[in-house]
Subunit: 376 residues, 2 copies
């Protein structure tokens, strides 16, 4: 009978990465399954919700080739509890599998693996290799600004495109929900298929982020897009994300050019103050007022039922007094996305969008967060 042997740790790792994708949609029973195929010295796991697909290649000792389709949740539950020992899996009649580990024996019901939907085809040669760290960083610094409103589906993702920074090739990610925008670009090789830009859905991006989660700093990953999908190859894992159709807004015209009132402030200091003053914002508007004077900024908030809060923060600022309101959560999320010790804030007047950015950057790159002001 077709069977293979695999270490518990290896199988558990592979199954873990599938859990956010397989079984998310329950309309089609086989989508709650994982497709397993063992051949040569590998077990290939595939999971998909038809929008995001993932395939993992795991090391296994294969005695005879075979395939199966098994409930993603159930096999994960089982493997999680197994002792740290080799697991033997064998195909049985009627699409069942037999699983043995230590003194435990399981017979697990399956579906016909031939009915498992196949992932879009990809071509190995199209992948551009770029540092994994760059993709991870660009996601971290943009995705929080994407919209969650289902009706604005073309904003429910990250716009992924390319650009020239001082004549050099770079890639850019942008996310916006109409009230704020985050943009990050880094110099690196050109990625195929993003000349005009593509929209990566937030859900797929979050799964990709999980996949990149435990990768080391100087590894590389493969990336490319075609007209319908984005392909990411990370180690022995492949993730395929269906692109969002639609036009991403003309975001470049939103980026303020003349915000001449510049201030510098310690990131942790302003973040701590914001968290405190944000305890008194109203639930709906979440507005916080910034009152800039020479070398100091007062943050204040007011809640109809609970009361008010204010705090003064030392800043580096030489410009004229200005009073401006922002959504407290947007401010905090933008500031949190910045890695430098100080942040720079650029304002124009109380009716114009504000800019938040790092004070410096080691490599040629650019990060910018834009937040629309609020009347308070």
């Amino acid at each position: 009978m077709a069977y293979f042997e695999i270490e518990k740790r290896e199988l558990l790792k592979g199954l873990g990465l599938m859990q956010g994708i397989a079984g998310r949609k329950t309309t089609l029973p086989i989508l709650s399954h994982i497709y397993m195929e063992w051949k040569r010295n590998s077990l290939f796991l595939t999971g998909t919700d038809l929008e995001t697909g993932i395939q993992e290649e795991l090391s296994a000792q294969v005695q005879e080739e075979g395939k199966a389709s098994i409930s993603s949740k159930k096999i994960y539950e089982i493997v999680r509890e197994l002792p740290e020992q080799p697991i033997q899996i064998q195909k049985k009649e009627n699409h069942w599998i037999y699983l043995k580990c230590g003194k435990s024996v399981f017979n697990i019901a399956g579906l016909d693996p031939e009915e498992f939907p196949s992932l879009p085809t990809w071509q190995e040669k199209l992948f551009t290799k770029i540092p994994t760290q760059i993709v991870k960083e660009m996601i971290e610094k943009t995705f929080f600004a994407a919209s969650n409103e289902e009706s604005r589906y073309h904003l429910n993702g990250i716009f992924f495109t390319q650009q020239k920074i001082s004549g050099k090739d770079s890639i850019r990610m942008v996310a916006t929900d109409g009230h704020r925008l985050s943009l990050m670009e880094r110099e690196t090789q050109v990625v195929k298929g993003i000349e005009k830009g593509v929209i990566l859905p937030k859900k797929g991006i979050l799964e990709l982020r999980k996949l990149l989660g435990d990768k080391e700093g100087n590894e590389e990953m493969g990336v490319y897009c075609n007209s319908t999908h984005a392909f990411f190859k990370v180690g022995k894992s492949l993730m395929i994300i269906r692109l969002i159709e639609g036009e991403f807004p003309e975001y470049e015209q939103v980026i303020p050019k003349n915000n001449d009132k510049r201030l510098k402030v310690g990131k942790e200091m302003i973040y701590g103050s914001l968290r405190r003053v944000a305890t008194m914002v109203s639930e709906r508007a979440e507005g916080i007022k910034l009152n800039l004077k020479k070398s100091s900024m007062e943050l204040s908030s007011y809640h109809q039922d609970y009361g008010d809060a204010r705090e003064e923060v030392d800043i580096q600022y030489e410009g004229p007094p200005i009073e401006i309101g922002f959504n407290a959560r947007y401010l905090m999320e933008a500031i949190q996305s910045i890695d430098t010790e100080d942040i720079q804030m650029e304002l124009k007047d109380e009716g114009s969008p504000g800019v938040i950015r790092p004070t410096s950057f080691e490599t040629p790159s650019q990060q910018i967060c834009i937040i629309m002001p609020m009347r308070m």
Copy 2:
């Protein structure tokens, strides 16, 4: 103006213990508040949901006595974000308070503190001092067996009573949901008001458990009951729990006397096996089958959709073969509550309740878990 100063850490600790009680019921606005009274060198905090009440005495520097009633959730949110510095609180007109810490200033709306419901009165002299560790242990080893079904309200708690073990005074806790029962008793001083037994509600017990959470091993606490409430004094905290009215079932007749088929098994070993085999129990009945032979027990389960599981465990057993079914979760919770390396299981036949208990105990005490069998 009436004001006091308190360390952030001290206030946060006190407010943290209130969070599970104050604000749990939203019918009466003032119940979502904390009553604060500062006098002499203390701040007294009080919270209640009218079933469980808690009062904390915290160290504070009081300039002038005062009282206030403030939203429990909001003040906790605020204090959590404050820097580790002294907090000044001052009473203002209209039941508001003014709070200052570092550079942060808050004005917080309140209600008339005179409208805060008072806790039942207690008498210091009625408290019996018993080791905190004993109460903690008795709760841990019984509360999981209490019922969650609202209709069986007299089973939604722990029966707390006294007993003689070999002529010596002891206290006993018992919980049952009708399908299983856990009992623990420990030799200690007599506690007033529990001669006939009282029923402590699960919710209050869980709050008491939190309160006991960070207490050291050899501290003592005060306990007593009257006809309506149980009183617990732990350090500078007082917890008052309204008793459940109703008759606790005649549980003593449920305790099997003639379970002559005894087996011994390593706790971690059987627990691990149960977790694995339990992945294949049916959602509703959660049944697991135990098949005892000389020196070995086979655990097995069957799920209509997912398949089956089995595992063999080495045991110390000399009796005749026996096959018996139990709810897997009940078995696991009972085994988990036992601290000894091995557990003892006592069975009679497939239709009679099973007993699980520790194999030894250092101090005169008794712990027993009883589980009704299942037809499988």
